[in-house]
Symmetry: C2
Subunit: 150 residues, 2 copies
């Protein structure tokens, strides 16, 4: 039990340390992280359309969207600071804070795969791009499954 409690404290501290602006009002933090996700989703949509053949593939357009996602991918995390589980409508589950270490690891994994996608989108083959797009999308889904209410 002591070990579990200590782990929880470390996890909370880790999340707090990543939130340099943790003194923000919860509603502002929630609006911020939702805004960052909106930017990610807006750019993800057309990439999905291209990968799935619903939109003509445009290498430069795809690469630009991948770069946009990579530029923002690390940003939402600091909007999940302590005390931001309520204060405005949010789909974030309590596990974001009770399993903060895993949540942070999953967010970092998304950032990592998005960064790879941005690099591959510039120079890779369409097959490689599709593969990395899938890997990136899977990291989104992993977090949504565990940490976001429907």
């Amino acid at each position: 039990m002591v070990k579990i409690a200590a782990a929880a404290i470390v996890a909370t501290a880790t999340l707090a340390a990543s939130t340099a602006f943790a003194q923000a009002k919860p509603e502002d933090a929630i609006a911020y992280r939702q805004g960052a996700f909106k930017v990610i989703g807006w750019n993800f949509g057309p990439m999905a359309g291209m990968v799935q053949g619903r939109i003509p593939y445009d290498k430069d357009g795809f690469a630009k969207r991948a770069a946009n996602v990579a530029a923002v991918a690390a940003m939402p995390l600091e909007g999940f600071g302590p005390g931001t589980d309520a204060g405005a409508p949010t789909k974030a589950k309590p596990e974001v804070w009770s399993k903060a270490d895993d949540f942070k690891a999953k967010m970092m994994k998304m950032n990592e795969e998005a960064t790879k996608l941005a690099a591959i989108a510039k120079t890779g083959s369409l097959d490689d791009i599709k593969k990395q797009f899938g890997a990136t999308g899977a990291t989104c889904k992993a977090c949504h499954d565990d940490y976001r209410n429907k």
Copy 2:
């Protein structure tokens, strides 16, 4: 009159050309641009606090926020495509679309000054950083004054 109409068409075309995802639903475009502005505002706040002495100045923290703003500064524009003046609550004035050339120029100016701020924040003196922060904030205000309802 013909000249004015032609200018308006060019302005509209220019704005449309910058919106590769112009087929998006108006409510999605509005949520996207508001999200991008939320990300900018979230990062701008602590920089303002440091410049004004309300928060202790932290060179790395300031530089990180300036980099975040620069990464997102060019993004909101494509959320102002044709037909996105309504469809969800928005403070955008009709002049965004009727004076699209000037609106776009002001948005690009903001992007330019934010990019300069990110560079100066890394290596400049605090005086230079404060000066460039002021120049960047002025470009935000210029657009808010003309194109955003209170």
